[in-house]
């Protein structure tokens, strides 16, 4: 009797269950690797500088949508203030880049940590709220940060804590890392940072925090009953999301060289949520899709002379579509639709009979 129990316990240990990846997972991993390698090596050579710059923005905002998707999809916390967090990260990075000569990776790390601390401080009291209240209070906090930024402005090489000199005739650009000064090189640099952030999130999902988040998302009372410290894991999600967004802000600062408070309006947080939902909050690929929607599509339309307003309308329609028919977003819907199409095509030759 005891032998059976011991054997069962052995078979059920997590390390044994997670050992062998299945075939679809291997295929998915290889496709991902191939695509990433292609994007890293080939894309900057194939695309014009206009699109290389755009792809850098895609990389930056994929990190932001990754963070937001983590909060919304994994933990069920809707944040309507992610652009304000991005602004904090960009501000910190810009201040450090102007004030110190620290190497770029260190600045990114510091910007991420500063933003993480800010995120935790804000998240701490806000975590007593749930659902709609939480979403609305993030909107309120984002509105406050936006007003403060409009007065305080982004650092532009001036002195003092704020580092802003309003009377400058020539604003110095924010520096880039020495190994990534050109646009194609900086794209590769931002890709590497993005991959690291995605790996960080993946590591979380596959281990204890990921399971805790899944349990909380499923049912908070049940998770509580299972002994999970809900408050702690929600705070961890906030911290992680803020860290990633802060790092993204640092990469953004180097990408665009000049930061303005009008570039981070409150309504952008709303659009960001729209594209994150459209991309799909339940998979990491959804964050990449969202990044493309948010940055690549506008650049494409801009190039074709189509007004940016059409995109705003498209995002509005997308939100409605996602919420009513496809909660998992494009990242889930497109493969599903393709699979369904594939099944239908495979059925045709047999059942067609003239």
């Amino acid at each position: 009797m005891s032998g059976t129990v011991r054997a069962t316990r052995e078979r059920a240990s997590p390390s044994r269950i997670a050992r062998r990846p299945s075939r679809p997972q291997l295929i998915k991993a290889s496709i991902t690797t191939v695509l990433l390698l292609f994007a890293f090596f080939a894309l900057p050579e194939l695309l014009s500088l206009y699109y290389v710059d755009t792809m850098t923005q895609v990389a930056v905002y994929s990190m932001v949508t990754l963070a937001l998707g983590l909060l919304v999809g994994r933990v069920g916390l809707v944040s309507l203030g992610q652009v304000a967090v991005l602004a904090i990260g960009a501000w910190s990075a810009a201040r450090l880049l102007f004030a110190t000569t620290q190497p770029y990776p260190l600045v990114l790390l510091e910007a991420g940590l500063i933003t993480m601390v800010a995120g935790v401080l804000i998240g701490l009291p806000a975590l007593r709220l749930r659902g709609l209240y939480l979403a609305l209070i993030t909107l309120m906090l984002a509105g406050s940060i936006t007003v403060v930024l409009a007065t305080v402005n982004f650092p532009n090489g001036g002195h003092g804590f704020l580092g802003y000199n309003g009377s400058l005739l020539h604003i110095p650009p924010i520096r880039r890392p020495s190994i990534a000064a050109s646009d194609p090189a900086y794209f590769r640099y931002s890709m590497v940072v993005a991959i690291l952030m995605f790996a960080l999130v993946l590591a979380h999902i596959k281990t204890k925090p990921g399971r805790a988040w899944a349990a909380i998302r499923q049912s908070e009372p049940a998770a509580l009953a299972a002994g999970i410290n809900i408050w702690f894991y929600k705070l961890w999600a906030f911290a992680l999301a803020s860290f990633i967004t802060g790092v993204a802000g640092g990469v953004l600062a180097g990408a665009i060289h000049y930061l303005y408070s009008i570039g981070f309006p409150t309504q952008d947080s709303i659009t960001l949520l729209a594209v994150t939902l459209m991309g799909g909050v339940f998979s990491l690929w959804g964050a990449v899709v969202a990044g493309f929607l948010y940055q690549f599509l506008p650049a494409l339309l801009n190039n074709w002379g189509v007004s940016a307003d059409w995109l705003i309308i498209l995002f509005g329609l997308g939100v409605l579509q996602v919420l009513t028919t496809a909660p998992a977003g494009l990242a889930d819907q497109v493969p599903r639709d393709l699979r369904r199409l594939g099944r239908r095509l495979r059925r045709r030759p047999g059942g067609d009979g003239a």
Partner: protein, 447 residues
Amino acid sequence: MRRHISTRRTILLAAALGLAAAGCSSSSTASGTGSTPASSSSGSASAGTVSTSSCGSKPGVAATGTPIPLGAIATNQPGTSFTDIPNMAKAYFDCVNANGGINGHPIKLYIATEQTNPAQIAADAKQLVQTDKVVGIVGNTSIIECSVDSSYWQKLGFYIIDSGIAPECYSTPNSAAVNMGPRYSSDGAVQYALAQHVSKVVFDQANVPGTGYIAAGPAALAKAANTPIVQLTENVPITDASSVAIKEVNDAGPNGAVILNFTPPQALVILQAAQKLGLENRVKLWGCSTPCNTDFLAQSLGAKWNGKLFVNAELTPPDGTNTTAMNLYKAILKQYGTSVQGGIGSFSQMGFTEAEIAVHALQSITGPYTVQSVNAAFKAVKDFNTGMLCQLWTYGDYPLHIPNNADYTVTANNGKMTTAQGCTPISAADPQIAQYRSAAGTAANAP
């Protein structure tokens, strides 16, 4: 349930298509690359006493040579759109192309729009240079483009002709503007108020990039006149204009002046709030930088503001000016300017002027049209009479450019803007103006 879902999907799709159809047919859609020109009928005098064919060197002969590619970047986002300026420049180029072109070569203007996103602006510049292979930049009008791209243009040797806003449009060697920009236009408005012997100046501006740079101008002028000045900024869009108006009036006092530097809708909101509160008479006068110089604003304000609002005008007022250039401008606008939304006004005037200068420069080029030759020609423009400005316009080889530094003052009168004061140079109390004049001298007034 499945049928329900597909019905909703169909409705969403239909809505999207319907919007697309509506958008395509709506005449008020501002497309980025400009619409196709109206019929380029040669020699037909459609407006004024001037035939549009006088824009080119060979009336009625369409240009068929290899195109000369030029580029422009303009802000186009909800609430702020400057596309009228490059669109009007394009209209002028279309006219020229229909009447001989530049020695038989048509000009092709690539217009890139942006939404105040530095990444996008930098990308637009690279697109114009690398993909569209433009040899010159004419018509840039953007809140931050000069700041973002200035070093890029310097590196490539582009000398751009623009309608400036950001500080770098006026403080770098590679940009010369046809307008005065927010700082010098505000100088003009403040200068007029100081000339009326006000006891205090309140200068209120929108909180967009460059407030410190802009505020330095009026501050210097007020200091030179020994008049106290209060500097204010407001976050835009303004949601509570009443508190703004009360604050301004309180700070100015009964013998003071309130000078505004906002886009037309924001300035209108403040002025209307002041009127509703009954405050328009509580200060000696109200002033405004050039953006207020539109008939839309004058009409919306009405007769209560007669003799109270004095607006700096960077360009010659179109009403009541019967010169060849002004009539040509109106004629081209009517015949070729279908994508210019605002009609007659400072935006389209600026576009006209920039195109005029570019064409004048291009016509002087013998040999191939390359980046070097075109930009050298732009830089060589000297004492050109545009017919739209107080002074003759010069580019020149200077470390900074403020070629338009004399202005009119107009006032709202029964729903229209009428001239209150003729061409007056901006005071050299502004250090930047002094620096420019010491390098370039003072340009002669246009005849």
